[in-house]
């Protein structure tokens, strides 16, 4: 019984460590790569795990942030998140492969998330996470 408990505990610890590695690895420049999680989420989870700060951000600022995205990212985000088009339709409209659409959506959303997070911290909607919170 002790051996079973020890093995279960060790597997759990290993799994937790692996999870932490997944969410803290640096995102590569060529695409989503091995880490699909925006590192800024790690900060948000420490101070606002429900993501309530999004409620405080005015719509105009969100639209402005979308408007400020590079065109290829902006178009993908608007077509997917505002117009609700599937990947295949966006790919056809933008004349790029579906994989490119997904990559543009990933980077566009990440950029948008970072801008909105910075704005929320600046406006005091969310507390900035400090080293001492780690």
């Amino acid at each position: 019984m002790f051996t079973i408990c020890r093995n279960v505990f060790l597997r759990g610890r290993e799994r937790r460590q692996r999870h932490d590695e997944i969410v803290t690895e640096t995102v590569g420049q060529d695409g989503p790569g091995p880490n699909p999680v925006n590192p800024v989420w790690v900060s948000v989870l420490g101070v606002d795990p429900e993501g309530d700060f999004f409620e405080s951000i005015v719509d105009e600022h969100i639209m402005q942030a979308i408007d400020d995205l590079p065109e290829e990212y902006r178009m993908a985000v608007v077509l997917s998140d505002l117009e609700g088009l599937p990947y295949a339709d966006i790919a056809e409209l933008m004349e790029v492969p579906v994989g490119t659409v997904k990559s543009r959506l990933f980077w566009g959303r990440m950029q948008l998330q970072n801008v909105l997070y910075d704005y929320a911290v600046e406006m005091g909607y969310i507390a900035a996470r400090t080293e001492t919170d780690e």
């Binding site: 279960v8 937790r16 309530d52 999004f54 969100i62 408007d67 065109e71 990947y87 990933f106």
Partner: protein, 101 residues
């Protein structure tokens, strides 16, 4: 919940593998890598049920899904009643006209 499941829960602090057969449970890395596709309803190579089972059971991955949902809700809310920026709308109309031609 079996005795072994209770032990797992006690020692791991998470409900991994509880409520789903081990063969159906996908690892955290895989679940997190398909968050976008899961929310779009366009999962490649893995079933919606498998991914949902992981997020339902994994206390550490679920908050990531929740934040992505909150983010998308905020975008949709902001876009309600507002349309795409004028420059983008013109570009889209151009693309649609080209596609029709």
């Amino acid at each position: 919940m079996s005795f072994l499941d209770k032990l797992k829960f006690l020692f791991t602090g998470a409900a991994h593998d509880v409520g789903a057969s081990p063969s159906a449970m996908i690892p955290c890395e895989e679940a997190l890598s398909v968050v976008d596709d899961f929310l779009e309803g366009e999962l490649p190579g893995v079933s919606h049920e498998q991914v949902k089972a992981h997020f339902d059971a994994c206390q550490r991955c679920y908050p990531h899904l929740h934040l992505e949902e909150a983010f998308r809700d905020a975008i949709r809310r902001a876009g309600t009643g507002q349309r795409a920026p004028v420059g983008l709308k013109l570009k889209l109309m151009e693309l649609l006209a080209e596609a029709d031609a």
